[in-house]
Symmetry: C2
Amino acid sequence: MKTMKKYVYHFSEGNKEMNALLGGKGANLAEMTSLGVNVPPGFTITTEACRDYYVQEKTLSDDVKDQIDTALSTLEQTIGKRLGDTENPLLVSVRSGSVFSMPGMMDTVLNLGLNDETTEALARQNNDKKFAYDSYRRFIQMFSDVVMGIEKYRFEQVLAEVKRENCIAHDRDLSANLLLSIIERFKDIYFKETGNRFPTDVKEQLLLTVEAVFKSWNNQRAKVYRKLNNISDSLGTAVNVQAMVFGNMGNTSGTGVCFSRNPVDGTKVLFGEYLIDAQGEDVVAGIRTPQPIETLKEELPQVYEELVRVVEKLENHYKDMQDIEFTVENNRLYLLQTRNAKRTAKAAVEVAVTLVDEGILTKEEAILRITTDDINKLLHPTFDEKALKEATLLATGLAASPGAAVGHIYFTAQEAVKASKEKNVILLRQETSPEDIEGMVSSQAIVTSTGGMTSHAAVVARGMGKCCVCGCQNLVIDEQAKTVRIEDTILREGDMLSVDGSTGCIYLGEIKQASAVKQESFARLMTWVDEIRELMVYVNADNAHDTQVGLSFGAAGVGLCRTEHMFFEENRIGLVRKMILSNDLESRLVFLNQLEVIQRDDFYQMFNVLNGKSINIRLLDPPLHEFLPHEEKQIVALSKELGCSREELEAKIASLSEFNPMMGHRGCRLGVTYPEVYLMQAKAISSAAIQAKKEGVDVHVEIMIPLVSVVEELVFLKTQIEHLVESQIEESGVSFQYKIGTMIEIPRACFIADQLAEHAAFFSFGTNDLTQLTYGYSRDDASKFIDIYKQKHILAHDPFVHLDESGVLSLIKMAKEKAKKVNPNIKIGVCGEHGGDEKSVILCGKIGLEYVSCSPYRVLIAKLAAAKAAILKK
Amino acid sequence: MKTMKKYVYHFSEGNKEMNALLGGKGANLAEMTSLGVNVPPGFTITTEACRDYYVQEKTLSDDVKDQIDTALSTLEQTIGKRLGDTENPLLVSVRSGSVFSMPGMMDTVLNLGLNDETTEALARQNNDKKFAYDSYRRFIQMFSDVVMGIEKYRFEQVLAEVKRENCIAHDRDLSANLLLSIIERFKDIYFKETGNRFPTDVKEQLLLTVEAVFKSWNNQRAKVYRKLNNISDSLGTAVNVQAMVFGNMGNTSGTGVCFSRNPVDGTKVLFGEYLIDAQGEDVVAGIRTPQPIETLKEELPQVYEELVRVVEKLENHYKDMQDIEFTVENNRLYLLQTRNAKRTAKAAVEVAVTLVDEGILTKEEAILRITTDDINKLLHPTFDEKALKEATLLATGLAASPGAAVGHIYFTAQEAVKASKEKNVILLRQETSPEDIEGMVSSQAIVTSTGGMTSHAAVVARGMGKCCVCGCQNLVIDEQAKTVRIEDTILREGDMLSVDGSTGCIYLGEIKQASAVKQESFARLMTWVDEIRELMVYVNADNAHDTQVGLSFGAAGVGLCRTEHMFFEENRIGLVRKMILSNDLESRLVFLNQLEVIQRDDFYQMFNVLNGKSINIRLLDPPLHEFLPHEEKQIVALSKELGCSREELEAKIASLSEFNPMMGHRGCRLGVTYPEVYLMQAKAISSAAIQAKKEGVDVHVEIMIPLVSVVEELVFLKTQIEHLVESQIEESGVSFQYKIGTMIEIPRACFIADQLAEHAAFFSFGTNDLTQLTYGYSRDDASKFIDIYKQKHILAHDPFVHLDESGVLSLIKMAKEKAKKVNPNIKIGVCGEHGGDEKSVILCGKIGLEYVSCSPYRVLIAKLAAAKAAILKK
């Protein structure tokens, strides 16, 4: 037996949960209706009807037609008008409404129900022929376009001709007679194009329009939009049939838009604008200047009061700032739409916190409202929105590190450093390397043409809180010629560029900036965050300054100190290079001893800043050749210093180079093959700790052995380091707290996590490398195809940005479980770039990790995400 | 309460299972004794006594001393002689005996129990002063060396002096008087060196010697040996005290060694040699020429008969060919040692098969006796063993592909090809690349200075069954100068080299070769292997020839056809390069169409060879830049052909280069970004299949999509390929059997194996890449530190050689279980290099995989291993 499907719902029958069936707009109208807000009545034809329409090879079934008929009758009874009635005609709008918002992508027909006779009735009723004729000509035009596909310009031409012939400037100045002649000419066009007369049967008008809306689901621009926004093609659209109300019926009518609070700063005042005697189109057309909403209080006081009441009702109901559209028809207020309002970051925080104070939201709900993007905008400068609209977009890359910057472009670190003394500088490179650090420090922003979200440029820039756009593939940089080509534009050294690290956009010339804001409500929100979150948040910091920044954002300590970053500064890199290029242990030790003194001082300074907070120090990780010079000049200089020939030095550098350095001789593999390097670092740590302790500083060190894949590596190195530290302690008579643990970046380490946990006091997951190896994606190379993969929907997102749940997180979870079984006290967290990404942090919370660590400017983001993790886990 | 430990065991108390306590030698003597074989009686002081000796800071406890006393008394009673007796003195040997064989690493003292008085008694008893004095001087010499550490040369000097002074050539010509004077001078040396007289107390002699053996456990050469052979330092050694028997007591005495079968060909005849009136030393010294064992039958027929009986008893007992040492003292046969005999590969197979025929072994036991090495020696030429002993070893690398080759060295593929027309050639390269293929084909052997067991050279050479030594780090190749430096030796182009791919050794000049053998018993063994094994064995083959070779070894089909190998041949690589460098789809299609014709023919030929057997074809896998030229000349030539500037071409090549190509834009990532390439290959496959089918050839194709890490990759590509193949089938009206599946090389793929199995008809684990990513070891770079890791016992073995059980196998097992749950019919196996390695194949069997695939010359090894896997699983 066939069950009759319900294809049509009155607004009073639905609610906002029925999105999938009624579409977004339909569900919204139903929700408002059921709230008792005055919405023009109507009904929704479901998305299922649309899907079935396609299944039945684009025919409306009798079922659907019958249900539309019935619903229409009820609507007519409710409103006391009838579609096609020659005395009291009902006019309706017919609008599409898909499940996910697809603004402007599908079609709408207004004033449906007009024909020659009902138009005259409308004129009589309102005693206004111009209004009636104008409505009719608009209807013919829209119907012809939407339902019959007759191009709009045909009608616009006629309109323009008539105005020209009669020396009329604006549509509204057309007389009733002229409008009548236009209507006739419109009908002629319709006849010429379709071979039929314009339909006078209003039911026919309705059904044809419903079909047209269904068809519009598959028009070209809708298909493209869905592809771009990853919306399934199989959802279909609903159709909303709603009684028309008119804001253009004189001085007691009007139309407007309005926010329930100020969307710029979040203060609680009505914010919006309206036009008296106008339709929605007129506001958009911009011919008349709308009035601010406050004046409505005087012009139509009752309507204003009603508006205030309705807005408050909606805000309380949706528990969020609303953005509404309304029409007033003869002093009667109709709500056409309401939605959560777009707002600035500042307003977002202000509104969320105030709603908690007002008892509308819980603290948890407020926290869930704030996004990573909000925090970035609060912490970093942004471009002035208006200025941005007028700017010339040159190219788009990966939004690698947020912020907005303006400066003169330079192509090498050296030139950037030099120029930065006189002006703001933007460093443009194919990809940065550790040698470019000083140039990066001197620049306002960094832009690279290759490299992904965890490339050197991206990671270092985020660490500095500096604006960065990576992998901007359209840039063709010619370092020699000091030019960059972007499609047809060629820029030279010194030219101005504006860079938006939050969107990945690069603009020509200078754009006005808006600076970061401080806000009391934000501080309050963050105290709630700290109450609620369970995950500890540490900062990734390689020096005292970054540590200080991290602590100022409330980091619990340093979760990752990458000692190699200390190696690149000018006074050190020379020593490091000589150490690496030493031919025997003896001469290597000479340079190691010099490096030890320098490292000791670095650690000493960090211990002082941290005083009592813990620091996790990772021993040398990158392959040695990363420290060696690659440019001819530097090689020549170094060979002179080393007293060897350039060829010898080049041969040595070549012998250290690798086919796949990421999987090469690095991390603890260096520690095992050159134990003296790790021992130097351990000694620097322990002497610094002893010195600090002597001076009354509280020291908690975690010494981390990176890239372990075999338990013997950990045991071998731990034994040596422990021995060294203990003998230092014994010698000095001063002891300090230290633990030895390991970084987990290698899939195999996860499988032997139980073995490792017997020897490690902590695990810190290096999720960048773990993601690389789990996917087999080189983070330096993969951005090329990851982009294409996203376009083709092979990847939903870049796994270097959001932690992969199926693979990488499974490995982490397995490792955690194995480890806790043998060593319940082992401390386990994440120190990769994912530690500063909301989605990833939530996953870390989900599987019960204890902490995340991230770059200084992401500490607040991580904390917020940690609070969300705790909330979502419940 | 302290339990008295048993520190001393009579030979009659032990057996061969007590290895750990009695050491190898002690357990062996005990086993023989308990078998009723005539072994000179004695006792063993346990390894535990040795360990306790060290624990007690190098003192022999009273317990140990007491137990030695008691055991000695029993021994004296058994034999009817007493240690130190001046009438009927007992002499003993004291020998070390560790758990694992450490030949020559520790010390032995013979003739213990002699002093001035017992020596005279010995002389009287045997009526032979010379024999007695000679025994005494030998004892003093050995005792001084072993127990007191007095250097041997001191005694040798005296001996030489006396001989010179008396114009005597051989020791045996020394008169009794001269021997007496030598004894006195030996005693003087002892006194000078130690400050004490030579001990006359025979008990003291014994205990000092036992201690000396214990101490020898930690002498330098023993420690080094253990390190090299991965033997634990904490095991300790046992000490065997055994009554001396003398083969030098006249014409009814003698000594010899003997195999129970011929160790060269395995035939069942006694094989060995002996000397009448001689001690073991004399056989070794080589002064007298030993007689073949057959003549003993006439000389001492009873002894011979006894020997035959004993040997048979031992062979039946140990179920294997024995290698024994014996001494005859006055017509009485004593067995001093028996062990499983070393033998040639041919003998190994012959013996194992014959023992089955004799009912001594089961087929399964026989199979377990044969090693990979045996098969390699049967299949590949080897060096003549005698010639090898005299050869000059230049360097050692990785034994990458077995075989022995002699040839003239060349440093580039081109020169190798040219020279090969006139002589045998050996190709010497830093590392080979696909461009070198022709040079490799033309060479007898390939030697590289970098690269590991799965480097290009290794993999390709194994595929060709060609001798190869890789990662030979001591070679410093200067391609420009056409020389190679190996420590102090410099070789030039054209010089002769001998290469042993089975050992990784490289020798100067030409060494005589022994060629491979064919053998009936081997064929019988392989039929048993085929009966027993459960794993299917396929061959990795990229052309009809390799396919033919694989099938001739009994492969079930082709388990991996790497289509890219077809791209490198001379008539193709140009097209491939033009295809890659095409700027748009249109021009790319032109070259793809030309390539399709060529590939179609390749497949067609392979289908013909296989007729009915399946073939697994992997679509394009390596990154595109691997196909591009790297040498200046070739780049210039190609740029001319393409009609672009050299700079343009270089820029294009550079733009395709990657930091970590292994984790870059390759495999199905190319398929997704350039679908036209995979579709070309699919079309070539299906047209070839259709043509073959039309001609009555039975075709079973598996199309394999490599490097999948996200299920959407598989779905995307499978859909397109399926569509293409189906339309080809429809168009031609000829259908053929095909399946689409995936290669699993990425850790993440193992985690989503259930999702993949919904779409894949098979999984083929590419264990090379999976090992790379699981360990984070680049196989091109890791050989450097893997060597050091093995030396430092961080790694027990190279995971590219033997599959890693903890990590890689766990991933495979997890993937298999996930996959079988959703798709019980999915075919799962391994096609990486591990498919031809015994240990790895056994692991594959253990977790229930269905097949392995390996290079042609490893098919037999894989089959043998598969049989072992089945046997060991029971």
